[in-house]
């Protein structure tokens, strides 16, 4: 099953590359491609996830890991993927809209082990990383709740 999934992903990647090669690449546009990085915040026993963004494979990210930014195609993109646990679990698929010149984080969260009965949702969340520069001497901080089994939290410093 794992072999089948990996072959399917490799095939999809190859198709994506072919599709890209066939599209010319001389649009004349100087707009920067959107950039996407992947964060794996799946709890439980999920060593790594493999995400397909359209026909493009994002870097494999282990549990708690973060990838570098990867150039992606602008526009509506499908997001599919698998988590390698003891076997392979499909992650929920979704569709996202990426704007040229923007940066994003795709966050996989939930718990594949606990979601076997379907009661714990696994989510793929898209966060826009674009921001205005903070005031001098300041940084920017935001918070994402990956706590699937708890009420809403606030973070205090």
């Amino acid at each position: 099953m794992i072999l089948f999934k990996r072959v399917a992903i490799m095939t999809a990647v190859a198709c994506g590359l072919l599709a890209c090669a066939g599209c010319g690449g001389s649009s004349g546009s100087t707009t920067a491609a959107p950039k996407v990085k992947l964060v794996n915040e799946l709890g439980g026993s999920n060593p790594e996830i493999n995400i397909m963004l359209g026909g493009q494979a994002l870097p494999i990210v282990e549990d708690g890991g973060i990838s570098q930014y990867t150039n992606a195609a602008a526009g509506m993109q499908s997001v599919t993927g698998v988590a390698y646990v003891q076997g392979v679990d499909d992650l929920p698929s979704t569709t996202i809209n990426l704007a040229a010149g923007s940066t994003y984080t795709l966050i996989a969260m939930g718990n594949t082990s606990a979601s076997v009965d379907g009661t714990i949702p696994i989510m793929i969340v898209l966060a826009n990383d674009d921001h205005t520069a903070p005031s001098s001497g300041y940084a920017l901080v935001r918070y994402v709740s990956c706590a699937w089994n708890d009420p809403p939290y606030s973070v205090w410093v």
């Binding site: 915040e41 966060a127 918070y143 709740s145 990956c146 205090w156």
Partner: protein, 87 residues
């Protein structure tokens, strides 16, 4: 709501400090907010009802001026929490 000794109540405006991030449901991402660069300490992560997480010692992170970060919280599962840079 009662609180254990040393706990910080998650009131909207009654905390003598800075609320970096307000309530967020599972899967929700807050907006960025400014925080003074340097070391910050996260003392607790509190909900509207138990269970709460109060770190046994404040979790410190170093913020570089001009950079952006996201704090991920999983309630002690697996790696539990992380502050990752976005920029």
């Amino acid at each position: 709501m009662s609180a254990a000794p040393g706990m910080i109540l998650p009131t909207v405006s009654g905390f003598n400090g800075t609320t970096v991030l307000k309530d967020a449901y599972y899967g929700e991402v807050t907006n960025y907010s400014e925080q003074k660069a340097g070391q910050i300490s996260i003392e607790s992560v509190l909900g509207d009802s138990p269970p709460y997480t109060v770190f046994t010692s404040p979790q410190t992170f170093t913020l570089t001026a001009g950079h952006a970060y996201t704090f991920y919280y999983l309630d002690g599962l697996s790696h539990g929490y992380a502050m990752l840079e976005d920029s």
